[in-house]
Symmetry: C2
């Protein structure tokens, strides 16, 4: 297997984090640059089927895109995927919500603040709207984590790992007010104590 | 089980379509209105955990949100979910891509054109940008479907059903030029011939 990974991307980090937690951090990595011409070439050549990273290239030549699909593939049969059908479904609910709602606000605001050269359009109105929407999304996580240590069940699942990727830097990179969310901050700290944990680097 | 479903929403339609194909169209439905006050109340009362439809309320009282997570829950063990791990992962790649990329462009442009009262912001620049991006996304599907009848494997999977929901109306509702995409049009026609198929209504 080879992981095509973008160093600064939370979506790529998710996969690197799961590999580290599984003790599979020897999977070779190929760093992908955030450069639209390079991405288009990689897409055309079949390395990045949807034109973005991460992609896990499997031994049979399959190029598997989408961070959360890669997590499901690598996580199946490990303690990070519950066996119970309802718990599995709840885990997937958080994962689809992460891609449909959370990433488009939390990660996008961070990108607009920190990578304006490659992500233009940070008008004051847009930044303010993203701040309000982001706080509402983080409140949904806070409400859940105020009642329990992990998003689903009694131990860390793929739902926690995928949401950690952009949430742990939502204050520093995204400018969200994390003082409002003590349960999220405690959950982030909890994740860093998992055996094998690797920080974004 | 009860399905909380929004009649005009493609995300809700996906679930109704799968239930019809599985012959489970007797699952009771409760229609959810697109009204922000009603959605906020339902969210507060625990019926819509992420504040949106669809939600499948299970017999044990679990409220399961996110259309694609509901598809996975209902589809497990049926012919719509492949057994092979790589095929399952590819199916999930398309499903996460649908929520992360496709829906935010294809469905959003349709909503801006048809439901301006509840989705403002249809500036000419935005509509033009969504058109360009939508055609690029549809081209990714076209490239795949020009080579094969179904997105993954040799028969319809959840990937086809979830992408059908907003793609089949991308021309009529979204204003996308579907004449460019003959393979997508053939695939849409193929889906309507599946036993039990139910149109959006």
């Amino acid at each position: 297997m080879i992981l095509y990974s973008m160093p600064s991307s939370g979506n790529s980090y998710k996969v690197r984090l799961l590999l580290a937690l599984l003790g599979h951090d020897k999977v070779p990595r190929s760093d992908v640059e955030y450069d639209s011409a390079a991405l288009a070439t990689a897409h055309r050549e079949g390395r990045l089927p949807f034109g973005k990273a991460p992609v896990l290239m499997l031994e049979d030549g399959t190029a598997l895109p989408e961070s959360n699909a890669i997590l499901c593939f690598l996580g199946e049969g490990t303690p990070f995927v519950p066996q119970d059908p309802v718990a599995r479904a709840k885990m997937l609910s958080w994962m689809f919500w992460e891609q449909n709602q959370h990433e488009g606000v939390i990660a996008v605001r961070a990108a607009l603040r920190n990578y304006a050269h490659r992500k233009p359009g940070a008008t004051p109105e847009r930044m303010s709207d993203l701040l309000t929407r982001g706080h509402a999304l983080l409140q949904i996580m806070e409400d859940q984590l105020a009642q329990r240590d992990w998003l689903v069940g009694d131990s860390a699942t793929l739902a926690d790992l995928c949401l950690f990727a952009y949430t742990h830097s939502a204050g520093t990179l995204g400018g969200f007010d994390m003082d409002r969310f003590p349960a999220i901050r405690a959950w982030c700290a909890r994740i860093t104590t998992l055996p094998g944990y690797a920080a974004l680097s």
